[in-house]
Symmetry: C2
Subunit: 545 residues, 2 copies
């Protein structure tokens, strides 16, 4: 264990209600602490060398308190008891003096003479647990057993909830600690490739320490991703994926309330999806196939099939050699498509409702998770005001804002998008906005041209913090115009004939949008890399785990 890990958790003995009752004098305590630390360091080094230290897993048979501790046999559905496990996050003053049973990970352990201090971790919650060998409720053997449990092991801990004199600063449950009466190991951890405390530390803390001349260990992205199931245990990661799940639920619930229904379209498709090189190809029972680059064609067919308003949450596949902070080869698409009566503004109305709900839902219902993320990756909650600018208006803002050379009929690159995001933030006070009426030349062939000027199209992108999270448009629902547009864009008609044909039997005017789930979470939380918001990211160099 790194010293920094201990520092990070900063458990002060003086804060402990148990330790404070101890009578050992300060000098002796300091000596014993130094000895224990030396022993722990030695055991750690031995473990790192792959040498199995003689670790205590079962109690001394002579110990009168032997029933109170030791490794469980493997949990194998032997029996169901009436025992109740309390969640760490629910441990508070209201449970004071009550006996509880907790199953959690051992986050840190520290032995000190006759006492042991453990921090137990369960998802984003941590609590201090204290053993003091008094030979009545806790034996010396029990203390030894507890201090030898490897970090990240899972234990069942019985104890009494105590309110310490001072708050426990290093733990999420500051108002209480557990006075242990029983400890049993459910699953032992082997040597860790990195420390959770190191993986949970903010860059700010590392910098601040460096200024004091102290070098704190950090964990690189590849090492994290190679051991993702361990990396994901950090409080920030636990919170990020709760937020990700929340975004999905708000997306679905908002659209269901707006009359949408969930659909599932195939990811294995014939031909070349929407064309282009960025497609994964495979053999399907002897027939050439590819993985869908989006549910575009199928969600449009669902509209032609009268489903009226549909959404899909599913993986999309892009065989792109992109190594940027915001591209993945597989990501979650939140797609929606809807019949419109007159105007693509009907789609924009839905998109604004959707993001109002996401921004509001996260900042109110998930404030705790956002705070946990911000502890490691500080960010300001983004602001939301509905704002629609036309593409020409956006170009004018850029021209006035220091980019006079910007092409009024070209696409915006990442730099220009970010610049526009900044200008909009300053001028309108929102981190969210919609840019619509893009030039036709920079949109796909199935985009409906504007009626008044076909140089422009009934299309839109949506931005958070100056980065695109949504692309969408009114689609061409007229087979003749679609053929014309495809031809003009150089798309071989034979590859999309069945798609074109699906608009020939009465096609509702419609529009839609595709949202990148990982991007929404990344940009909402101001994170710097999309790999942080994908549970098991896929990029050109990473296919495992």
């Amino acid at each position: 264990m790194s010293e920094a890990g201990v520092a990070n958790l900063s458990i002060e003995d003086s804060q402990s209600s148990v330790a404070s009752t101890a009578t050992a004098d300060a000098k002796k305590a300091a000596k014993e602490a130094a000895k224990a630390a030396k022993e722990a360091a030695k055991a750690e080094r031995a473990q790192q060398r792959g040498v199995k230290a003689a670790v205590m897993t079962q109690p001394d048979p002579e110990d009168p308190l032997r029933e109170q501790y030791g490794d469980y046999p493997m949990v194998q559905s032997r029996e169901q008891s009436s025992r109740v496990w309390t969640k760490v996050e629910s441990l508070g003053k209201d449970l004071s003096e009550q006996k509880v049973l907790v199953r959690a990970r051992v986050h840190t352990t520290r032995g000190k003479g006759k006492s042991a201090f453990l921090v137990l971790r369960q998802r984003t919650a941590t609590v201090q647990a204290v053993l003091f060998a008094d030979d009545v409720t806790v034996s010396k053997g029990m203390v030894k057993y507890a201090t030898q449990i490897p970090k990240e092991s899972i234990v069942d801990l019985e104890g009494v909830v105590k309110v310490p004199e001072k708050p426990i600063e290093g733990c999420s449950q500051k108002d209480v600690e557990l006075q242990v009466t029983g400890i049993r190991t459910v699953s032992r951890a082997a040597t860790l490739p990195f420390e959770l405390v190191d993986a949970s530390r903010s860059e700010e803390e590392v910098k601040a320490a460096a200024e004091r001349g102290e070098i704190l260990p950090t964990v690189g992205q590849d090492l994290r991703l190679d051991n993702r199931f361990l990396d994901l245990r950090t409080p920030a990661n636990q919170a990020i994926f709760r937020v990700q799940s929340a975004v999905c639920q708000i997306f679905k619930n908002t659209l269901l309330a707006e009359g949408f229904q969930e659909i599932h379209t195939p990811k294995l498709i014939a031909g070349a999806s929407e064309g282009g090189a960025a497609v994964f190809r495979l053999d399907y029972m002897g027939v050439p196939a590819c993985l869908a680059q989006s549910p575009q064609l199928y969600k449009q067919m669902a509209i032609c099939a009268d489903f009226d308003r549909v959404f899909e949450v599913g993986p999309v596949f892009r065989a792109e050699f992109s190594y940027t902070h915001r591209h993945l080869c597989e990501f979650m698409g939140l797609d929606l498509e809807m019949a419109i009566h007159e105007h693509y503004f009907e789609v924009l109305d839905v998109i604004e409702k959707l993001f109002a709900a996401i921004f509001d839902g996260l900042s109110t219902e998930y404030a705790k998770e956002l705070a946990v993320i911000a502890q490691q990756y500080p960010f300001d909650v983004p602001t939301f005001k509905p704002l629609r600018l036309t593409f020409p208006e956006g170009i004018a803002l850029l021209q006035q804002g220091g980019y006079p050379e910007v092409d009024p009929l070209g696409d915006l690159n990442t730099e220009l998008e970010r610049a526009l995001g900044k200008i909009v933030k300053e001028k309108y006070g929102t981190d969210f906005f919609i840019l619509h009426r893009y030039p036709s030349a920079v949109r796909p062939f199935y985009t409906m041209p504007c009626a008044d000027d076909p140089t422009y199209s009934n299309s839109y992108d949506v931005f958070i913090r100056g980065e695109e999270i949504i692309s969408g448009a009114q689609r061409v629902h007229d087979a003749e115009l679609l053929t014309e547009r495809a031809t003009a864009c150089g798309i071989p008609l034979d590859t999309i004939q069945s798609y074109i044909d699906s608009f020939k039997l009465g096609a509702p005017p419609h529009g839609g949008a595709g949202v990148g789930l990982e991007r929404v979470v990344m940009l909402y939380c101001g994170l710097n890399n999309i790999r942080k918001t994908s549970m098991f990211p896929r990029d050109p160099k990473r296919l495992t785990p």
Copy 2:
């Protein structure tokens, strides 16, 4: 249009409030009807030969009512009006004498002298619309225009809601009809590969007609699937996919309420997924990859990553040459995985809550959709009582029930599963039950053996109407035992080493299950083929549309 189609909708003139005000004598009307039918048949034949009949798309410029009808220009987001469209399903007596605007498909048209009868269809709802040329609100040109609109075209229809003397038997909206004052076509349909009325007919109706000596057209499965976007417009299909969406929502909401969170795991994975031949292989940026056969390994990693209780709704891929009624090469997996404290019964508790919610939710909130499905595919709503039988108990029931030869340590084939389903239904009165403690030999290597007898395992299947919809188990969370089990099952360890390793850093005991979404809907609704519950099914012979 088939005559059967008209018969099916059985719109009786005498039921029409508009027609009943007409003064034309019966003889003349009959003559004109015959003439109109002849003309319609002629136009149809011409259309079928690919000859474009001279169809009226714009009003006669001399018609004083020319503003009331004609094709719209293409809807292209020109402007947004304040017009409000009324849904067909909401047309009822409460709107009597009110003027409404409806956008819907032309389901059928029939001209008769100075009058025209249209049935408009919007998803599962239909309503009759009537035009009678009185030269005040409706001109002869308007009637002609209306009768020439091809079936499946989308129209905007203005009209006044009228309550007919007798209910309109052929429509879902029986209590009202629309007296048309304006009709405009939004999107014209070309020649249909089959008639919606033919595709919507029940086998029972075809049989009954055959007994009368009448042959009604039917539409085969391949023709339907080749034109799936048209086939999906039938009321039964509209209802099936609303039910499918509902099952998804109930699945998610029930599990969210039980403390689960939604995750998304990669479908592109290295190696061979869970092994075996039934895997789609592809090249991933020069590295061999495959499509995940299930999220099994990843959802278990999510548990090792402390997510505690997770679910995933995502596609699963099986490269199996199965042509049965219940296998697909791509289907939607509803997966769940959860840490357990002691026993896999904790998972079964969740599964029973889940299906109680699904059965209850469908039969109460989706009774209308179930009735629509039953119109074409008659079925009894299945019964739900929680019931758990051990595998040996199931074997005993089969042995007593006419299958004395059944292997007590073998797997159950489809015939035996169905037989057991029948026996259970008779004895316990439930279409749903859980069979647990399967022989270890018939379960995957990662299944936890029973503590008291490793011949059996902590595993389970769940059945509806005697067909399996769920497979699941407590998993082996101990790396040593997992290695032992894999070796015993002949799995090459090097292919699963990283999976095994993920249990070495403290692994919570856990279990889970995988549900096939299409199977749940198929079996709940007593449908005979899983292709009916997959929007765009994939089987060894079908990759399109």
